[in-house]
């Protein structure tokens, strides 16, 4: 079975080279944004195809041997690439998100009035190449450092792209600082664990800092230097935690960096870059530890810590997001919240993986599958939401939700894809986010015989998903529904074409991501199937334990099931019943033959709809926010870019002193 003619390692190498070549070409045509955009898209497409092909081959036919490209023995320095199932999933995610983001960039950047795109496309492609590298290299020191720095510096340039805007430079500096800290912490961790190079049975000589060499020495380390090993793992948790936005580190950089960057870059930052932190955690805490060293490895302790941190991260991040009134800043905080869910799933897995009971180990798999599937889903819907926010910015020139409203009428395509993504992130049934959370909750709640705190953590997560729902209601409602704001009406009056929707390429990028979201939502079996294939294709360390445990069962019509049939979810059948009930409701509404008429809303007869009495984003949930101020997150919002046109002043009544600033709707 050979679905792809190249070995996956060569494919990844090819993908990186395609990006590098694209970077040079786009640098050459930096004065011509359109040409640069298409060149970058071609390079991203080539690299995506290569990466997807390589990933598909690994998932279908299992991993091949590792590939050593460069090596310098005396320096313990070598580029050794190896793509197993876990890497394949992350490669697939990177490929699936970068392609729409590159397509979206073409028209998005064309209208940015900058002298050239030399600061945009070359770093963008290098950024993508570095991410491909970081999820497939086995060198935990030098090439990890090189790829991490490439990713960080390229990201830094991208975040700084609109550096003339106030606050942007500061956000980029913070990002750079936190990433360097994370890099240092992880490298010290690797240094603590590394001993000497080893020679494998196949005669391959591994460098000192190679992942497999570290694995080889780890049992002895865990047994004889437990403190050193624990320090190393703590450093990994902190380092990769910074990257994925874990509380309390995420709050330092993530909410500032995401809104500052151009929207396609925000999509990549939130969609894939923070996922490399998840990759690192999974790799180090599960795959690095050989199964025979389990007795000396306090997996349950690390799991408990991750459950705790994950629960705090998801609760705090989401509550902070609720208080935001800027589209991208709100989405950035919610990324922290969603990263918390992933961390919770991974923590559940680690807590339960050491159990002697096969039923509990099956729940560990449920937690892991939920976490990894949520990585896939979050990448898709969060990058889609950032692209939507970018489209809104593109159409209206603002990220301030208070000035937005009623965009559904003017940007139907964007609004529709945003609806899909918002439903997914809120975990509405039949959406992709629901399926992955379902699995995390399954593992956490049923895992209670092994750890009594797991159901509590899961319940806090369920509670938080009600907050996520409130948050997305606010986002979607304030931007796309409610009444059109005067800014939106003004913009619509200025454009010649009907509506404000974005150019076709941008719509296409959004539609592609929305389709993937819908697909994974209705066929979660596909997602769980992929994750299971990934586990089967990466039998190493504790990954073997997961691969051997009973998987989450998955079929198209029967949906997914777990805990020995005690949990079931069959979205297609739910859709069938819901669809029939929907058709019945529609029939009932039409049955009376009632005539329809459009009319203005009724405001009690003494007021008309007006910008002054529009219900704005900052008014939402005022009463509950008063109780949630402890969570913070309101400090230092980046100054909103001024709208290109001043707000219109159609015969307004005098502003009343109490008007808009501090009234609370209770």
């Amino acid at each position: 079975m050979n679905p792809f003619p190249m070995s996956p390692e060569h494919a990844v190498l090819g993908a990186m080279l395609a990006c590098a070549a694209g970077a040079l070409l786009t640098l050459a045509c930096r004065r011509r944004p359109a040409l640069g955009g298409w060149t970058a898209f071609a390079a991203a497409a080539a690299s995506s195809l290569l990466a997807l092909g390589g990933a598909a081959r690994v998932l279908a036919a299992g991993p091949g041997p590792a590939l050593t490209v460069l090596g310098a023995r005396p320096l313990e320095f070598g580029l050794r690439l190896h793509v197993d199932g876990l890497s394949a999933i992350f490669l697939g995610v990177i490929a699936a998100v970068t392609l729409p983001a590159a397509l979206y960039s073409i028209d998005f950047m064309r209208r940015r009035h900058h002298p050239g795109t030399g600061h945009y496309y070359p770093p963008l492609l290098l950024f993508i190449a570095a991410m491909y590298g970081i999820v497939s290299t086995t060198d935990m020191m030098w090439f990890f450092f090189i790829f991490w720095q490439l990713m960080t510096l390229a990201g830094f340039v991208l975040i700084r792209f609109e550096r003339d805007r106030p606050g942007t430079a500061r956000a980029a500096n913070r990002y750079l600082l936190m990433m360097q800290l994370a890099c240092a912490l992880t490298m010290i961790g690797a240094g603590l664990l590394a001993r000497t190079g080893v020679t494998t049975g196949a005669g391959e000589t591994l460098m000192r800092y190679d992942f497999d060499a570290v694995t080889r020495h780890l049992p002895a380390q865990l047994r004889f230097h437990p403190l050193g090993a624990a320090t190393a793992f703590a450093l990994f948790l902190a380092g990769f935690g910074i990257k994925l936005g874990m509380w309390p580190f995420g709050q330092f950089w993530l909410p500032d960096a995401h809104p500052a960057a151009p929207s396609p870059v925000s999509a990549l930052l939130s969609g894939v870059m923070i996922k490399t932190g998840v990759y690192g955690l999974m790799r180090c805490f599960l795959w690095l530890v050989p199964a025979e060293a389990q007795a000396d490895y306090p997996a349950a302790g690390w799991g408990a810590l991750m459950v705790l941190l994950g629960t705090i991260t998801l609760a705090v991040g989401t509550v902070q997001a609720l208080q935001q009134n800027h589209t991208k800043r709100l989405l950035a905080f919610s990324s922290i919240g969603q990263a918390g869910y992933i961390l919770l799933g991974l923590g559940v897995c680690l807590t339960l993986v050491g159990s002697a009971d096969p039923a509990i180990r099956a729940l560990a798999v449920a937690g892991f599958c939920g976490a990894l599937f949520h990585v896939i889903n979050h990448s898709l819907f969060k990058s889609l939401l950032f692209l939507n926010a970018g489209s809104v910015l593109h159409a209206t020139g603002t990220q301030d939700m208070n000035q937005l409203g009623g965009l559904l009428r003017f940007m139907p395509a964007t609004a529709l894809s945003a609806l899909v993504a918002s439903a997914a992130i809120a975990g509405v049934p039949l959406s992709s986010g629901f399926a992955s959370k379902w699995s995390i909750f399954l593992g956490a709640i049923q895992g209670h015989p092994a750890a009594w705190w797991l159901p509590l953590a899961a319940t806090i997560a369920i509670l938080t998903s009600a907050v996520t729902l409130a948050l997305m209601t606010k986002f979607y409602g304030a931007v796309f529904l409610t009444r059109a704001s005067s800014l939106v009406l003004n913009r619509a009056a200025q454009t010649r074409q009907p509506g404000l929707d974005v150019p076709t390429t941008m719509k296409l990028a959004q539609a592609a991501l929305a389709t993937l979201c819908l697909g994974f939502g209705l066929l979660p079996a596909a997602g769980f199937g992929l994750v299971d294939r990934a586990l089967q294709a990466s039998r190493q360390g504790l990954g073997t334990v997961l691969a051997d445990a009973a998987p989450v069962t998955a079929g198209a019509w029967t949906g997914v099931g777990g805990a020995a049939g005690q949990a079931v979810y069959a979205p297609l059948l739910v859709l069938l019943v819901l669809g029939l009930a929907f058709a019945f409701a529609r029939l009932l509404a039409r049955a009376g033959g009632a005539p329809r008429r459009a009319a203005a809303p009724w405001l009690c007869g003494y007021a008309t709809a007006h910008e002054m009495n529009r219900y704005r984003a900052s008014h939402f949930y005022a009463d509950i926010q008063r109780h949630l101020e402890w969570a913070g997150g309101r400090l230092a919002p980046p100054p909103a870019p001024e709208p290109a046109t001043p707000p219109p002043t159609p015969a307004q009544p005098e502003l009343l002193p109490w008007s808009l600033e501090k009234d609370s709707p209770s």
Partner: protein
Amino acid sequence: MTLPPLIPLAGAAANIAVVLLAAPLFEGLLRKLTARIQSRQGPPLLQPYFDLLKLLGKEDIESGETPRMQRFAVYLALATVLTVACLVPMGFPAPLDAVGDAILLIYLLTLAGICTLLAGLAAGSTFSVLGISREMMSMMLLEPLLAVALVTGAVHTRSFRLDTLLNGSVYASGGVPWSGLILLGVLLLSFQGFVQRVPFDIAEAETELMEGPLMEYSGPKLALFKYAQMSKLVVYSSLAVGLFIPWGSELGFPWAWLLFWGKVLAFVLLVTLVAATHARYRIDQAIRYFATLLAAALGALLLASCGL
């Protein structure tokens, strides 16, 4: 699925039919009883059926900027409540037990709430959006209460299957079921909120917000919303009966079925009694009230994790 798919679908149709037929009757009873408690005569028992029929034929005024979204939200609101009805055992096992579990149930219940929110947002009038903001605030604290009860049941029985859970699972711990009793108290104290009746009908608040999210709705759309709300009363009562008052469900078809509806009726009467004798809370009071209940429920869950 072990059963051929036709039997669950037939059961689902039966549940939907019963809910649709019975919901206005319960509403009529509620109205009549409220009136009598308040020394009024009250409308005839069948008035809600006539109301629905009348509304279905009346002019449908669409005042939102995006009528499509308004229609979608309204149809989905009723559809979701009816789908939930298929997941709840009503005198016989839940028809769609093999299709979804407790987690799906929790999230479907929120979907029912989302539809009201979408409708209010799509209408977009200031009063509607004020209403949905309040609705969402109480949903944030209310929905988790039911979730905690279901999770507690799942912890006791080690299952998410609805037939197992909605059969008194909260009491399934050995000895005195402390967690179950606490949750029963929490449920009784919060039930008015789930079915959006006085004193927790804050989002609609006819006298101050003019029905909040529903303000801009008329004709068939209003009929569908009202219908969804009436069905919600029946569905939530069934859920509460299944979770907390399971006794007698093993009696076999006619008796178990009759007993079940008797218990649902008792719940409706309880709702009526509380609604008729209380005044509406303000949203900030309600938030504090629900938050206290939530803390108690989480305490119960902790007890459940420890096997109590």
